[in-house]
Symmetry: D2
Subunit: 136 residues, 4 copies
Amino acid sequence: MATKEEIIEFLAREFPQSKCLVEQVGNGSATVVHHVGTDHLRPGNTVSGPLLMTVADVALYVAILGAIGIVPLTVTASLTINFLRKPSPNNPITGVCKLIKVGRTLAVGEVSLYSDRDEAMVAHAVGTYSIPTRRS
Amino acid sequence: MATKEEIIEFLAREFPQSKCLVEQVGNGSATVVHHVGTDHLRPGNTVSGPLLMTVADVALYVAILGAIGIVPLTVTASLTINFLRKPSPNNPITGVCKLIKVGRTLAVGEVSLYSDRDEAMVAHAVGTYSIPTRRS
Amino acid sequence: MATKEEIIEFLAREFPQSKCLVEQVGNGSATVVHHVGTDHLRPGNTVSGPLLMTVADVALYVAILGAIGIVPLTVTASLTINFLRKPSPNNPITGVCKLIKVGRTLAVGEVSLYSDRDEAMVAHAVGTYSIPTRRS
Amino acid sequence: MATKEEIIEFLAREFPQSKCLVEQVGNGSATVVHHVGTDHLRPGNTVSGPLLMTVADVALYVAILGAIGIVPLTVTASLTINFLRKPSPNNPITGVCKLIKVGRTLAVGEVSLYSDRDEAMVAHAVGTYSIPTRRS
């Protein structure tokens, strides 16, 4: 297990380019927030799909590190995302991950993505991460 | 239908931040290339998952615009990606899209992603795009 | 909207071969149960993947009919399922669907699949259904 | 590696209820065919989604057994299917699998599903199978 502070310190060191803020982690869940800038918009005055995928991926990674500890080589094995509603260009994107399974070599979780957190989710993702087996 | 030149001009105008180069488009297919910089790396000296998802998404978008013409509000409805092998940090990522269906309101395609183009694909994606119905 | 009784009567008439029992429907959710017979087992003394996919698909269909009424030509557009744990051959499979979006032409939901309902889910699915537009 | 005859004999013994015929297997691919009976139809006079998922799953299983040999406990880890066109109730369903990766613990393949083989595919699937590690 890793604490929120340990994960924030790890991400700042290993992913200095990441603009995702870790808001909560623990109990098989995580919440991360990504600001939306003009770089992330697309025609229709909405947020690009790849930004939503990025937030989903980071939310999963953070939730899994929270559950298994800092295992940097844990990598995404698959991700499925469904886009449901048009996010506002004026809100950050929030990703809320709940882990479904944390096995020895595979972790699975789902992520609800929000634009306005008081409204319905804008996208939903399910992802699997491969956990390297620690050989002794 | 849109030509490669029309799509390149459209992307430069509407997605100026995009770093994906359009190499080929037409006949229900497209090839796009994205350079890999230090911003796109992750622990393990490999390429981040979100960059691969971005290339898959752009390859689909370009192939669809090639097939239906410049319809900017065509948006990703879903994407599923499987990560298969570790990309080299030294190669750009190439995405090769083949459309499976181009319907009136939905287009579906698959994307093979390569690091070294002479070797096996590093990831595989299937995506669906929603095409706005043009009301008259 | 359709009631549980209306859906049971519809399924019995249109899908007489279906062995899924509708246990609950309403409020954007549904619970269905499928018995497990020797026909549904596979090597490893566990339940076959296709049976789990069938239960996921039916749970989505029932939840959607509950939300939009009996629209028989509502059809699956996509389904993604992750298999998480080995179901027991001695328990029926229960599928619990929660709808994420019910739009005019598309409905999306997720399904948790259980063998022993008191234990962790054995599989998780996300599906989209296409709703025919009712032209007048 | 397993031959077509070995796989047919294995399926007949372990999945006697299966109605999928193995038409071709080898070179990282497989073709299987499933007849369509009244049990497999649904409103709209078309083939039910679960039958298409079943054929996709079997095509993957057969292609993988062809590549790695008869390893019965190889099990589906995930499957994503997109339904593209309405199959005819009068044709069998053909599934053509091409493997994308055969690793030590995971195999990935895609499946094109056909109603009339001379026409466009009716559905497309991507699946992953987990291969048990053979401990010595």
